[in-house]
Assembly symmetry: C2
Homo-oligomer: 463 residues x 2
């Protein structure tokens, strides 16, 4: 991005729209596409950052995308490809002439190529791999042997190593002479003769030191080595927790095989948080660029699970049709108890799911947290029992109805709080992602308990 | 952290517990505290990373925390203080002897001191500020004049600048001679005589270049300057979107006043995602270290809003008591329609809220997304209409009841999808955080529409 371009986007008046592609620019681009004005299109796209071009391709309609690519396919480079959402990448690669594709992928670092090809179908994967030079292809194929979502997939193999006996001057001379340094690197890895990392030196530190200082005297020994099979979630956690910029990736023999830099860890952190949010809402991996059928397909399963939950609640209600026929006010008030339980359960459950993800909920505080949730549920339950008791009496003039709804509220809010914390903890222990499955279980519990407590109490006290 | 320490935590068998403090270690630490064994405590805490010590303090009970601090207060350094959760920081600072506190804060970079003092009450803030040296205090006080949650608060003032006419050799000689380089830096900022940034040079690039190369020949002009008043959310977005490592912060005259590095942006990104998740669930800024009353206080408002929503739904039901008395099966089935609507609404709303946060939902695709949501809602509505129609007939043997619930389902799922996308977009336009308020509005709509459609149709078709 040129600076003018950014100044424009940084317009201090439109705070929330800083950096978003503005409508006017999108309109100009689509206008050029419609007119088939290839030169004008180049001119408009040239100053944009690859990430913004990728966003543009995701946001426009499929027909517009086809036309834009037809007119501009020569302009697509590796960076745009690697910024694209997985769901669109295969489609875009289809459009690219073989030579454009080859040029695009050859310009990328190995970790970006891995990221690019790992979600492609075998025929397209083959096309991309065959565009690479022999050594790079071998490196990418090696990376693909590591399980998905692990440090091995995330790392770049390009790194700068130095033996422990080198001085600052040796390292600088080596880097000056080396033709093929990584495009981005912030640390030199200090290794022993078996390529085991013994420390890392930040480039800033190297810069500040005299040529005759030994690397081992300025190296940082508080580095965090990551096993190649470490999950990407744990990699991102470690970067955020320990403020890492670079971390060495090591194989089972503790030999260094690559490095991960913070920008990749940041992308993972943001994806993982996104995934948790969408899973908690039962929206799967939903994306705005999904088509209608894709959207239906992603949301149906959760709605179906919810239907089963709701039917379970209905079965409970069906046991009490006699009371409802006698006192129809129960039908009016009964959704309130269930809904309050559902919401209280969701609060506890969300806090628990995130605390598990951020490793803040552990064996050492689990008991205390469960107790806190139960007592907090009890106190909020009491508060709402009083409020709803009064509402019940004022609305229907029946003190015993007020008592029934009040007691049911206390019971359901305590159960909701406990279910909200115990269910995610249990699922986590069973190795099931608590973000994915907790919601359905918690709602079932709060619906069933809510209707049963309210209607059951009414049957006992009011009939 | 020492390497052994990390090897232990990286135990490949306990994947999900990589990096979490293990129970055994916590037990040993609390054991030492109980025995008053100060030396043993030092020995146990010394190898831990400041972030892990902060987590430990957050996870143990308040009494244990008090005892630990009493025994170990001399060991607390600036890093532990700056890793601590805001809610605990004031409490911990209370315990520290003045000299320990002074030593701790003097060791921090200016951005960390700002982060440390901004949430403290004035008396404590004064104590910390007065512990700083004159120049540092002025710098921190200057930073505090910028609004909270902006680039100005986030940036560090320590940076390395070079004039445009320097060569690589000049820059290296300058850095060697300079006593007071920032502790961490990855780029040199190239500035014109008025301190306007014209490019930045990555240290790796500098290393790889000959001494006589001019900085302007190797500088990167695609840097992203951030105005001091830029919101921290937009700062984090730009780092993630453009894969930045360092960004210059500029004042209204475009002079550079500081830099932001990616590790701080990553922390913001993770906080903002966390905030969205908790707000969507109505759990406020809830944290596991909150006490019981704090938890009650944070959750009550959302539950109260939900109560009003639920009462609104009850008022709708109250209009149809005649139908319910006549056909009690309606009371049994009615929560299903409302609950399906609520869930479908939450799915759309979550996708919309996140798309707004990640700037993927913009003027150029809003219409298409709304259309997609409506059609997806219609299709899922039709699918569940058929399923529930059949269930209704099989369960109660009344075909018209099946038709009523089927039609109500279609209506509610379409409305849910539209409300889920239009309400967050509307709130965003009004300047209200859609994560905070959308849920209550959407549930109100789906409850009211769900009960009204189901019971109203029943009144028309079945009475």
């Amino acid at each position: 991005v040129s600076e003018d371009e950014l100044q424009e986007r940084d317009d201090p008046s439109g705070e929330t729209d800083a950096y978003a592609l503005d409508n006017r620019k999108v309109g100009q681009i689509l206008g050029a596409v419609e007119l088939g004005a290839a030169e004008r299109l180049d001119e408009l796209l040239e100053p944009l950052h690859a990430a913004d071009i990728a966003d543009l391709l995701e946001q426009i309609a499929p027909g517009e995308r086809r036309d834009l690519l037809a007119l501009w396919s020569a302009g697509i480079d590796g960076e745009v490809l690697s910024e694209l959402d997985d769901s669109l990448r295969a489609e875009v690669i289809e459009y690219l002439p073989a030579d454009v594709l080859a040029r695009a992928v050859r310009a990328l670092e190995s970790d970006d190529v891995v990221d690019l090809v790992e979600d492609l179908e075998p025929p397209q994967q083959g096309v991309v791999l065959s565009a690479l030079e022999e050594a790079d292809r071998a490196a990418v194929e090696q990376a693909l042997t590591y399980p998905e979502y692990t440090a091995g997939r995330l790392m770049q193999r390009e790194l700068v190593m130095a033996p422990a006996h080198w001085s600052v001057g040796d390292a600088i001379d080596y880097m000056r002479a080396e033709e093929d340094l990584p495009e981005q690197f912030y640390h030199i890895m200090i290794v022993d003769p078996r390529h085991k990392v013994i420390g890392q030196v930040a480039l800033g530190r190297l810069m500040a030191s005299r040529r005759d200082v030994r690397l081992t005297d300025i190296m940082d020994e508080d580095f965090v080595p990551m096993p190649v099979t470490q999950s990407q979630e744990d990699v991102a956690y470690a970067f955020n927790q320990y403020h890492l910029i670079t971390a060495p990736v090591v194989n089972e023999d503790e030999r260094i095989v690559g490095v991960i830099t913070i920008d990749d860890a940041m992308a993972v952190l943001s994806e993982e948080a996104e995934e948790d949010i969408l899973r908690l809402a039962g929206a799967g991996e939903g994306r705005l660029s999904d088509g209608i059928l894709e959207t239906v397909r992603r949301r149906f399963p959760w709605l179906f699970v919810n239907l089963l939950t709701a039917i379970a609640a209905s079965v409970v209600i069906a046991q009490f049709t006699g009371v409802i026929e006698a006192i129809v006010a129960l039908a009016v008030l009964m959704p309130i108890v269930a809904s309050m339980g559902g919401n209280a359960g969701t609060q506890s459950l969300t806090v628990a799911v995130r605390a598990i993800a951020t490793k803040d909920l552990t064996g050492s505080n689990a008991l205390r947290v469960v107790r806190r949730e139960a007592v907090a549920g009890l106190l909020n339950g009491l508060a709402f029992a009083v409020i709803m008791g009064v509402v019940g009496v004022l609305w229907f003039g029946t003190p015993v109805l007020g008592a029934v709804i009040g007691i049911a509220m206390v019971v359901n809010l305590v159960i909701a709080a406990l279910a909200g914390i115990l269910i995610p903890m249990g699922l986590e222990r069973l190795g099931i992602d608590p973000a994915l499955a907790s919601g359905a279980f918690v709602t079932t519990v709060t619906d069933v308990v809510g209707f049963f407590a309210f209607l059951g109490l009414a049957a006992v006290l009011m009939l």
